[in-house]
Symmetry: C2
Subunit: 157 residues, 2 copies
Amino acid sequence: MPKIDLDNIKPRSGTIYPEIHHKEMEGRSSLRFSDAAGLTQFGANITILEPGAKSSLRHWHENQDEFVMVISGTATLLDDHGETELSAGECAAFPAGDANGHTIVNKSSGEVRFLAVGARTPTEVGWYSDLDMKVTIDEGGYAFTRKDGSPYPGDDT
Amino acid sequence: MPKIDLDNIKPRSGTIYPEIHHKEMEGRSSLRFSDAAGLTQFGANITILEPGAKSSLRHWHENQDEFVMVISGTATLLDDHGETELSAGECAAFPAGDANGHTIVNKSSGEVRFLAVGARTPTEVGWYSDLDMKVTIDEGGYAFTRKDGSPYPGDDT
């Protein structure tokens, strides 16, 4: 069936970030359905943010377009321009290679849900705007390092 | 700015379908923002359906994944399984190559809005489930024909 049975998808929490960033990622979970639905060319998943939570460390992608649409609640986009509120039905686009690091945070007192769509590419490099950290993804998996490629403190990958 | 300024996007109506299908596509319009936002790897646009309108002739894609999420109103998905209601926040996925032709229609008395995401590929063939029609897309543009490649009645492409 093409319809996604959202009620029967268990939210997943946790993060692949290095261990020293685990605490600040608490309060984020996601409904990850696009793999099970057979989508291979882009990912489409729902992120749930409790009050105070963030969707990611502020970052940008070299190779992959990203897009978000808020489903419910009031989200705040943080990027190089500052803070921008996004309410239900509002959208933001992050083209590959645009070095404007971004994240979505929940500064409200209620839950935020948003749809996140990301292209799939065989390799990727992501850069973290507020940290000396990057992620490199290839057929062997992913690795977090400093921006010069040296080991990142607390990386357990 | 990554945020999409939806209030300043003029809805576009009309269709590229052969002329004999123009009448039945009335009541559909779209907010097409992803090209202007710099997205090249997938398209993300909002379709608006007045009561009685449909998003497309029922079809499936050989090469391009598709995904929809209802933003407001109550939509009805028509596919080989019959009719499935999709309310705000509900989603459906249509993997490339799955020959389950689909369309979204508005059987309600209010407006329906939904987000549609589609992969971008250099070439594409789309098949129309309820018609002797297909569309072929390549670097030269698009062409509607009968399924055997012969001219489609009323095609003006």
